[in-house]
Amino acid sequence: MTSPVNIIAVGGGKGGIGKSVVCTNLAAGMALSGQKVILMDTDFGASNLHALLGIGNPAHGFQDFFGDKMVDPKTLLLDTGISNLKFVSGAGDNPGSANIDSDKVGTIISFIKNLEADTILLDLGPGTNYNVIDFFNISTQGVVLTTPEMTSIMKTFSFIRGALFRKISLAFQGHPEIQKLVDHSDPKNGDMDAYTTGLLRSKFQERFPDHIDQLNTLINEFNPGLVVNRVRNRKDLMAGDNLLKLVKKFLEVDITFLGYIIESDRVRDSIDEMIPFLIKDPQSKPSENLQQIIGALTNTDLQFVKRDGRIFVSKQVRLSSGWEA
């Protein structure tokens, strides 16, 4: 599932952990660093990115896909006031609008993949619904977000496991027996014993030895990044480390730790002011944390400086990373 566009999906199992805020600031930072970025609000039914960007009454959004009218994809891209940054709103969420079928999801995914941009950032909704996970799995770089609370750690683990198993399930769509192993959406037909990659491997080893290599490849390619949000101290960072250990232990997945964002009221103030905190105060601690995350995602070293109301960006590309800037 490759795409010419770099798609970064920001998700997490638990709601309210700051996915939209982080995604908006990532998009703003990447756009300010010179990339053409499209920010998409795929939290259908609970969209709020347009509010974070200060865009009131967006003219178009993903809801246009759900109507009968044909939509020009270009009309969906809204200006944000930030150079290089476009925005696709998910506003207009009517009751029940979150319950989109797989066809509509496929349409949206197709739309996303055909966009011309350097980076597309997807702000996912909470939970482990397939509509959410499928958007996560189309990404070239998945970013899971968590907060130090144990509940958030738990849900993020579930999100990662759900995304991995959904990815395996989609990879073996033509094998119903394998689907039973990895698709637990139907407990009556599914094999609920394979709830870890170790158990899944053993099942594959017994029953589908021919697909074990493909399974291993899928697992190895699944390499989301982790961002710990609202960190207050080192102990909170240990919570993120525990998530990495948990994922490694039960899913045998290596998650890249992208960085953390310190707890700060500046972030909340930026939400109230509808300005990304990276733009509002690029030299603040949360902004510095975000710049490090962007650098980890783009293999660059970014530094934002704001003087006289103007933001200056210094960018250094890490040549040894192998990432083609």
Binding site: M150, M154, N233, M238, D265
Partner: protein
């Protein structure tokens, strides 16, 4: 921990700042713009932040602490000043002052209702015993020469002790000042204690004797008690005066003894005369009437007086510890009654009557004529418990020597300090009872105060059970991981381990 504290403090400060900013728009002020770079630097540097927070909290705390210390010191100083003032007022107004026989005793601090064995009064008595007896007699003589009764009361501890209403009045005045709770007495507790005493029968016996001036002891009859106490005082003073006079005239006592020794035992009139002589000497300060025939005519009228003296003598011979309250009080009553009759008698007469001049007794023949002792002389001397009407001495002599011993005994009772001591002992005993009673009232409210909160506590607070939740685990601990795994997987999903 420190970081967490700082973070919490930061949240608190930020909340305050947010509220202030939203209300006063502080962020757009020039001052804030000037301070903003410093504040940002402050926030970014934990050291500066810690220092600023410490200064923010420690400086006001230090100011408040210093102020509280100074206030505490001022309060202590005020308390000390109040205590000093109370002590001054205590010296001036405390009813205990009236209980002290000597003015210098005012300087001694004594608990008002303490269970001390030696009250201020008894202490003064002990001191007096150590002094020269003659000097003491002179002192009493000087006191007796003072005509004012009020002054005598103020000096006599017994009056202030037994005048309960006066005592309470002054005590209430003292308590109404509301300055000291050490000697606090509750009126309800007081009444309750009196009721308890009545229920115990300690005072009920007194109620049965209507003539007893202490009959309404528990009812706080001021007049009766004052009167009784005055009578006691007068009795004491009079006795002491007699003792003083006898000491001044020591040669006359043997003469009286000599005269008495001439009386024959078993005679119809001699013993009676002897006794009546003795009794009159004691009770009425009158010389005895030797003629028994004259006294028989008014025997019914005079029977009462010897009865009283008999009881008194019997009780005086017995130890006070063996006496009941009623006995003591009845003896005091008899004395008091007798002295009441004596009050109009001029004191100069007593000085004259001490002399055993037989002719002078004729002036009192009608009073003594009622004595008939003929039948009573047959009563064996071993009988100690006889009706008072029988009128027999406990140690009624059967021989001259016994008479000789008995007669000086009654004379010694007035010629020696034993009589005064016995009276003093009685008063001491009453005083101790009086104090114990107040002590009882003082202790009475204590269990009430204890029980009420205890009952309320048990009724209000009931133990609630709660299941102890796991304590907050550090994320770097293994238990945290185990707990996390337990939250992720279900119970039947443990085989992955």
């Amino acid at each position: 921990m420190i970081e967490q504290f700082l973070q919490t403090a930061l949240e608190f400060i930020k909340e305050i700042w947010f509220q202030l900013d939203s209300r006063f728009d502080l962020e757009n002020t020039e001052t804030f713009k000037f301070l903003k770079p410093y504040l940002i630097q402050l926030q970014d540097n934990p050291v500066y932040m810690g220092i600023s927070l410490a200064a923010l909290f420690l400086v006001p705390y230090a100011l408040i602490k210093a102020r509280s210390i100074s206030k505490e010191r001022e309060r202590k100083l005020d308390e000390l000043m109040e205590e000093m003032e109370e002590e001054e007022e205590y010296d001036a107004d405390d009813p205990r002052r009236l209980r002290r026989s000597e003015p210098e005793d005012d300087e001694k601090e004594k608990p008002l209702f303490g269970n001390e064995t030696s009250s201020p009064y008894t202490k003064s008595l002990d001191d007096q015993e150590e002094e020269d007896f003659e000097a003491q007699l002179e002192e009493f003589e000087l006191e007796s020469s003072e005509p004012t009764l009020d002054k005598e009361e103020s000096r006599e501890p017994v009056s202030s002790q037994l005048t309960e209403s006066e005592f309470d009045k002054e005590l209430n005045e003292f308590m109404s000042l509301g300055e000291d709770t050490e000697f606090h007495l509750d009126d309800t507790a007081h009444d309750q204690a009196i009721k308890e005493l009545q229920e115990e029968g300690e005072l009920m016996e007194l109620d049965e004797q209507p003539l007893d001036p202490f009959a309404h002891y528990s009812e706080l009859d001021e007049d009766a008690q004052d009167k009784a106490i005055r009578d006691l005082q007068e009795e004491m003073e009079r006795t002491i005066n007699k003792l003083t006079e006898q000491i001044e005239e020591p040669n006359e006592a043997p003469s009286s003894i000599k005269d008495l020794s001439e009386i024959h035992i078993g005679g119809s009139g001699t013993i009676d005369d002897d006794y009546s002589h003795d009794e009159e000497f004691f009770l009425e300060d009158l010389p005895p009437e030797p003629e028994s025939t004259d006294t028989q005519s008014e025997a019914p009228e005079q029977k009462k007086e010897p009865n009283i003296s008999l009881e008194e003598l019997e009780e005086e011979s017995a130890p006070f510890s063996d006496l009941s309250d009623s006995e003591i009080l009845s003896s005091l009553e008899s004395e008091a009654d007798f002295t009441l009759e004596e009050e109009p008698e001029p004191e100069p007469e007593t000085a004259v009557e001490i002399e055993p001049a037989i002719p002078k007794t004729r002036d009192y023949e009608p009073e003594l004529s009622g004595f008939t002792f003929e039948a009573e002389s047959e009563i064996p001397p071993e009988e100690t418990e006889v009706p008072s009407e029988n009128f027999t001495f406990e140690a009624e002599p059967s021989s001259f020597e016994d008479i000789d011993q008995a007669q000086p005994r009654s004379a010694d009772e007035y010629a020696s300090p034993e009589k005064a001591d016995s009276l003093i002992d009685q008063l001491k005993f009453l005083q101790s009872r009086f104090e114990n009673r107040y002590q009882h009232t003082e202790q009475a409210p204590a269990p009430i105060e204890k029980n009420i909160p205890e009952r309320e506590f048990t009724s209000i607070t009931e133990p609630r059970r709660y299941s102890k939740t796991p304590a907050g685990l550090s994320p770097d601990s293994k238990k945290y991981m185990d707990l996390l795994e337990s939250f992720v997987f279900m119970k039947d999903q443990k085989k992955h381990k």
